[in-house]
């Protein structure tokens, strides 16, 4: 055992998380809940797993070292009122709002009550207590912990006290998206924000949920959003999952989504990353039934020291499935972008139609983009295409726009905007598309 400890580069950091967990448990005034048992199991799992290093192939371009250094504490709901929320609810944005401040649920600002019949959003601990959802919730949690090899998921499961459970009944279509808003405000110490969503759509149902990760304007501070989503899309169902992220200069973000789709279903993930110091997205989908579609649409814009890493995986395990993946981003100053898109087409997955495109603009000498499409195809009757482009703005286009009276800055902004706007056209919900567009425009104006 002593050799294992010696090899664990992050033993001290793991110890800090253990201490934080122990403190949290000691301070917990609530009576023990079955969820706490899962959380303790998850923390035990953290002890057996390692944090990734650059020597790991999947973390070759992204070091988590900087994320692990701060002495994190658990945050509190503070410094936010209903007026602050308005910034993130622009006109036309009509959604069922659930608000987390510094990782803690703000019941006062959330609207659990107004959901349409057949659509359920509740705390995971309440779902576990209910007769109707208890067994589903436990099964999901068991699956998350079973054979889990990602230390960040284990850490998430250990610390996420206000996990949400989203559930649409058979054939229910929920028109209004559920909007889970994470706000970071000023805090004296670095904050660990762990949040888990378990989303389940039963046969023939459809809903959308938005995860917003924002820093309150004018706030500063270090924090680590460790977010985990477990998505189960039933037969002929559709889940839309939007991730809009505009964290501050000292915000660290690790998002992981594990989706599982049944036959004839659709899962669409739309990701917009504009902020954060280090951002790592792990987006994974496994196909369990035929004739289904997976859509990944991503936009990112990194400036200064930002590091934005999109790691995607689509596991085509059955025939007649389709996947569409389009990522576009801009990096400038000393920012760095990473795209690693793995598509597995297993032997039985005949007639697979898989499309992947990653395009980026690298606008300064110090900016960097690493793009790695990774197609592993074991079936012989498939259509798979992938493209990766890394380039600069077309100077003849800049000249053309300037020849009509736009100045150099306006011309470049128009072209950069056009470059990433293509992805926004795939955003199904117009209000989210407009919101994303507004956020992107703000970033251009910075």
């Amino acid at each position: 055992m002593s050799t294992t400890v010696a090899q664990d580069r992050y033993a001290a950091e793991k110890q800090k998380f253990q201490e934080l967990f122990d403190q949290t448990e000691a301070a917990n005034q609530q009576p023990a809940h079955p969820l706490d048992e899962y959380r303790q199991r998850a923390m035990a799992l953290v002890g057996t797993l390692d944090f990734p290093t650059r020597r790991w192939e999947e973390y070759k371009y992204t070091s988590v070292n900087r994320i692990l250094q701060p002495d994190y504490a658990i945050g509190q709901v503070q410094g936010v009122d209903a007026a602050d929320i308005k910034t993130y609810l622009p006109e036309g944005m009509d959604a069922h709002l659930i608000v987390f401040v510094n990782g803690q649920l703000s019941e006062a600002l959330s609207q659990f009550a107004e959901l349409p019949a057949g659509m359920h959003v509740m705390l995971l601990r309440d779902a576990m207590d209910s007769d109707r959802f208890g067994s589903i919730a436990r099964e999901q949690l068991d699956n998350i912990l079973k054979d889990q090899d990602d230390i960040f998921v284990a850490l998430n499961a250990a610390f996420s006290q206000h996990s949400l459970f989203l559930y649409s009944e058979k054939n229910v279509v929920c028109e209004k998206p559920v909007y889970i808003l994470h706000l970071s405000t000023n805090a004296e110490t670095p904050i660990l924000n762990s949040h888990m969503n378990i989303a389940v759509a039963e046969t023939g149902s459809e809903f959308a949920y938005i995860e917003g990760q924002f820093e309150k304007p004018g706030a500063t501070g270090t924090y680590f959003n460790n977010i985990y989503n477990r998505v189960t899309v039933g037969a002929n169902a559709h889940i839309h999952h939007y991730c809009l992220q505009q964290e501050g200069a000292d915000g660290f973000v690790i998002n992981r989504v594990d989706a599982e789709q049944d036959r004839d279903s659709q899962f669409s993930n739309y990701t917009v990353d504009l902020g954060g110091r280090i951002v790592r997205n792990n987006l994974n989908t496994v196909h369990k039934g035929s004739n289904l579609t997976t859509n990944y649409y991503g936009v990112y814009f990194g400036k200064e020291q930002q590091h934005i890493d999109n790691h995607t995986f689509i596991d085509h395990a059955v025939p007649h499935c389709q996947s569409n993946e389009l990522y576009k981003g801009i990096v400038t100053d000393s920012a760095r972008g990473v795209f690693n898109g793995k598509v597995m087409v297993r032997k039985d997955a005949q007639k697979t139609n898989a499309f992947q495109q990653s395009s980026s603009l690298v606008l300064s000498n110090k900016a960097e983009m690493d793009s790695k499409p990774q197609l592993e195809i074991f079936a012989d009757d498939v259509k798979c295409s992938h493209g990766a482009t890394i380039g600069q703005l077309d100077e003849s286009s800049v000249f053309y726009l300037r020849s009509r009276g736009l100045n150099d800055r306006q011309a470049r902004a128009m072209l950069q905007h056009a470059f990433i706007a293509e992805v926004l056209e795939y955003f199904k919900h117009e209000q989210v598309r407009d919101f994303a567009e507004m956020l992107i425009n703000q970033k251009f104006e910075q």
Partner: protein, 253 residues
């Protein structure tokens, strides 16, 4: 309007324009003709402000100011419009947004208020009719997938919207069928005013059947070797460029 004196321009150390002299007064239409490689397009691009050219000597005054010191967008805002031979396709930039941006940028430069959405729509519709374009193009990406004729029409639409003082048409007629050619020349004729000047660069005389120039200049080996009125264009149509080349080359020897 425009005074060009002894303009010498090189591209990658090769002299393309070898002493151009030209005076364009308000309201005049000048046609610049010449064989391939004579420097016609280079001249148009230097006036528009393309930076790949090195001005070796000479001067260009536009409304009394040193044009060569102005950036390309400054020239545009000062009222110079260039209709390009090959307009670039710009995917993702919607034609309508682009037109709104350029109209308002030019209005701002002229001290006019920005147009609101309604005024803009009315203004664009009016000009779209003038150039005989289909409104559906407004919803498409700028020039993307447009045919040759549609691209030229889009250039004419921009010209009509920006109401320049000096418009340069760089081989706008090349490759157009007769219908498209008519539309381009009608647009120019409708926009002709006492104050607005045109420089029409063309390889073929055909366009000048529709747009009557005040002056015709023949460019050869980077110099204007012959100037005249519209009858010179007809003569060129009859005899081609060879007689001019011979004349010039004989003198040079």
């Amino acid at each position: 309007m425009l005074t060009v004196k002894d303009l010498k321009v090189a591209v990658e150390d090769k002299t393309i324009l070898n002493g151009i002299n030209l005076e364009v007064k308000p309201g005049e239409v000048h046609a610049i003709m010449g064989p391939n490689g004579s420097g016609k397009s280079t001249f148009a691009n230097v006036i528009a402000g393309r930076e790949d050219y090195e001005v070796e000597s000479g001067s260009v005054l536009y409304k009394g100011e040193d044009l060569l010191e102005m950036e390309v967008d400054e020239r545009a805002l000062a009222g110079i419009f260039m209709a390009f031979q090959y307009p670039v396709e710009i995917p993702g930039v919607s034609t309508s947004n682009f037109l709104k941006s350029i109209v308002n940028a030019n209005r701002e430069a002229r001290g006019l208020e920005e147009m609101n959405a309604m005024q803009m729509l009315k203004y664009i519709r009016e000009k779209i009719e003038l150039v005989g374009m289909d409104e559906k193009f407004l919803r498409r990406s700028l020039n993307e997938g447009f045919s040759g004729g549609e691209k030229k029409r889009s250039e004419m639409l921009q010209m009509a919207l920006l109401e320049p003082s000096l418009a340069i048409l760089d081989e706008t007629d090349s490759g157009l069928d007769i219908d498209a050619l008519r539309i381009v020349s009608e647009a120019v004729n409708k926009l002709r005013t006492q104050d607005r000047s045109f420089i029409i660069v063309t390889h073929y005389q055909r366009l000048l059947n529709y747009i009557e120039p005040d002056f015709v200049h023949v460019l050869y080996k980077g110099r204007i070797v012959k100037s005249g009125d519209k009858s010179l264009a007809l003569e060129l149509e009859d005899k081609g460029y060879d007689w001019i080349k011979e004349e010039v080359d004989a003198v040079a020897v």
